[in-house]
Symmetry: C2
């Protein structure tokens, strides 16, 4: 039960001029975030609810694919990064610091070294493989020019997972599991993400895909075959232990042309039938890597194989950024009036709007509706503020909850309330008792 | 569905010699945590599950008391702490750092400044009060000698809440709400915590209580009246808007003698009837402060009162440390064989032990039992490893799940399995179909 009069929803009336892209503007205006330093944000109640819902979906799909959740510290020892050879190589994006004893530490931008240390300390035999350990935690990358709100912030939330396998073939299956889990994750978030072969960058390795969603305000240009827009995503029942089956899914999802600017080949793209060629702006929302023994060899993460000999494990790492996904979803789903949340990650399901607070009939009807909706498992933000109807409608449209239930004295006199679907703008008048079933039907 | 053969549970056979207290030893041995640097820990799957359960209880009771969840960044701007005057004052426990542009930042040890900034940016009128904003997030305090595992780590998880009120009387009510919510939180966690009048330290202010649990290995000496051990905690139906009612609860819970070492007065304690005098070791698990306008005045967090004049808000701050609570719970609840989890925060409800993996009858029975327990809403860790029974029993006792279900060929031949309650050691033999109801009864 949340009443807006008791909530903390600091709506901005003016459009913040520092915000260059629509998601940044809308997240500030809707009171979802507040900037505390360059590229560093506080998540206010409405924003945090969305962020947590995104994490819930990410977590559920990782668990389904057999990954196991852990939580590594944000502050890491520099010495661990010296073992892998990345401490000097990583550059200025890594936030380095010293503690009171002058020991060198850093704020983790990623966690290959830490997870490799955890793995090597405990795992001795190929019988304990495969393993995929993941966490959802805050990272820091000291970008030169942080911008675009939580789309490219310095402190950001990331789900990072790491797989450990006995050989390349097994590692490929682990990679495919995550590939498919990411397809499912984005689908559940209401986004169509297209896997594109990617450069491996500072993580290293030789097999990598970025997952890109298309949005006008995307950060980079991407080129792909339209076929990806309608390709089916595997259902919840997909068998993650079926090696050939998963490879088939990955093959299908990599069979057509798809490339980011960096990897684009105009000549190959020209072979795609013209009607299917799509060039657009894209936002990277996930990135997966297979990098073999790049970390396990220098860090001596070895297991005994079936023949009794020791060998370094084959690893991959896999990232999705929930704080970026919140912004990316808004880029893909908004209109002039504000945000349009997909049902799966809406901060509340229903905006309940009382047009005449203090009117006995309206107050009673709203209390009953709220109780009925919550009993039906729906979350409700009840606008019980002493405000004009126009301001309430504007707030509801801005914060973008999927449903608006409008209760006023005129309608109530006839036993009716109004229901509006935020996405389509469709309105209907109905009896309050029919409301939970009507909303649940969708 | 979690099978131990696929889980990541790195049990230690040896007792780690660096661990001085039993909770630290058991958390390492049970594969709950791993130290990554001095006072900095990774939470492994079993530990993370407990930590999340503690957070769920903390969150539920904060929400019940009307507090609203937000999430502030871990990295804060030094300038904000200059506004309050604490930047220079805080000392070496604060981890200070500089970004690539040489801007001064710090890893937040607490968040009074940030939350005051968030509040002042949006709130203008007494009509928007009271507010209590809280977060559950990682903090860093650079202790000289971090020790005792997650009991006193440098990077630690804290629920920190902050209340904003128009005057001292209203702030007192906000303080009382949290006081009562904390009583309820510790009760639900299976702990008896005693509020003790406390020194306010670097947070400042003039009203403060620590919540202390009694444990032989506690960090400090405490003195109190035995009456606190049986005092009833308010039920879930407690009305947090009832000003006089809450004050009555707080009065009752502060009516008897209770003091930490620092605040102890031997003469006053001597007036407690001898049979009721209790001196013991204690662990601080919560700390609450009312500090008036200490931050709002210098930081200009003002609202307009009913008379139209501006005034600084009265504030309080309130902390519970979930990562410390995990260790404190173990200090209070263990035996020679390992941890004994209270039901509310056990990582899984049931350890399902298959004594003969590969035996058709045992495997089938375990699969059926697991499905039946999960259908009944219980979480199960299934020991399907190829290990001797003795090793399985030792693991189950060590990790301390509340129930052990033991499935072996002899019992199955007679249609029976064994159920053991970890806390009492009681065992009974029963028909597998009766299991869910038997466990649910408690």
């Amino acid at each position: 039960m949340m009443r807006l009069s008791r909530y903390f929803l600091p709506i901005l009336r003016e459009t913040p001029k520092e915000a260059e892209i629509v998601s940044h503007r809308l997240m500030l205006r809707a009171g979802m975030i507040r900037q505390e330093a360059a590229g560093i944000y506080a998540w206010l109640p409405l924003g945090l609810r969305v962020l947590n819902k995104v994490c819930d979906v990410v977590r559920a799909e990782q668990d389904r694919a057999g990954a196991i959740e852990i939580l590594m510290p944000t502050i890491q020892a520099a010495d661990l990064w010296r073992e892998s050879g990345r401490y000097e190589a990583y550059g200025k994006e890594m936030l380095r610091l010293k503690d009171r004893h002058e020991r060198e530490l850093l704020y983790g931008p990623t966690a290959e070294e830490v997870v490799t240390e955890i793995f090597r300390a405990s795992t001795r035999s190929y019988k304990d493989l495969p393993k995929n350990l993941y966490q959802i935690s805050w990272k820091f990358r000291d970008e030169v020019r942080p911008r675009f709100g939580t789309m490219r912030s310095r402190e950001f939330l990331m789900k990072d997972g790491y797989s450990f396998d006995i050989d390349q073939a097994a590692a490929r299956h682990s990679y495919n599991k995550v590939f498919v889990s990411y397809l499912r994750t984005f689908e559940r978030l209401g986004l169509r993400a297209i896997p594109m072969r990617a450069d491996t960058g500072p993580i290293g390795g030789d097999l990598s895909h970025e997952f890109i969603i298309l949005a006008k305000t995307g950060e980079s240009e991407v080129f792909c075959d339209q076929a990806y827009l309608d390709m089916p995503v595997p259902p919840p029942s997909v068998d993650f232990d079926d090696v050939a089956g998963l490879q088939g899914v990955v093959d299908a999802w990599t069979s057509h042309y798809a490339a980011t600017d960096e990897m684009h080949d105009e000549a190959v793209f020209a072979e795609v039938p013209e009607a299917s060629r799509l060039s657009a702006r894209g936002i990277e929302v996930g990135h997966i890597f297979y990098f073999g023994t790049k970390y396990s060899t220098p860090m001596k993460a070895v297991v005994t194989g079936p023949d009794g000999s020791e060998r370094p494990v084959h690893m991959g790492s896999y990232g999705i950024g929930p704080s970026r996904l919140v912004a990316a979803t808004i880029e893909a789903s908004h209109d002039e009036a504000g945000i349009i949340w997909p049902d799966a990650i809406a901060p509340f399901d229903v905006a309940l709007i009382n047009l005449k607070v203090g009117d006995g009939a309206c107050d009673t009807a709203c209390a009953e509706i709220q109780a009925a909706l919550e009993t039906a498992g729906l979350s409700v933000l009840y606008d019980d503020r002493d405000e004009r109807p126009g301001a309430k409608f504007a707030t509801a449209d801005l914060i973008g909850l999927p449903w608006q239930v409008i209760v006023g004295p005129k309608g109530l006199a006839e036993g009716k309330i109004e229901l509006k679907r935020r996405a389509s703008g469709e309105r209907e008048t109905l009896d309050p008792v029919d409301l939970p079933a009507r909303i649940r039907r969708l």
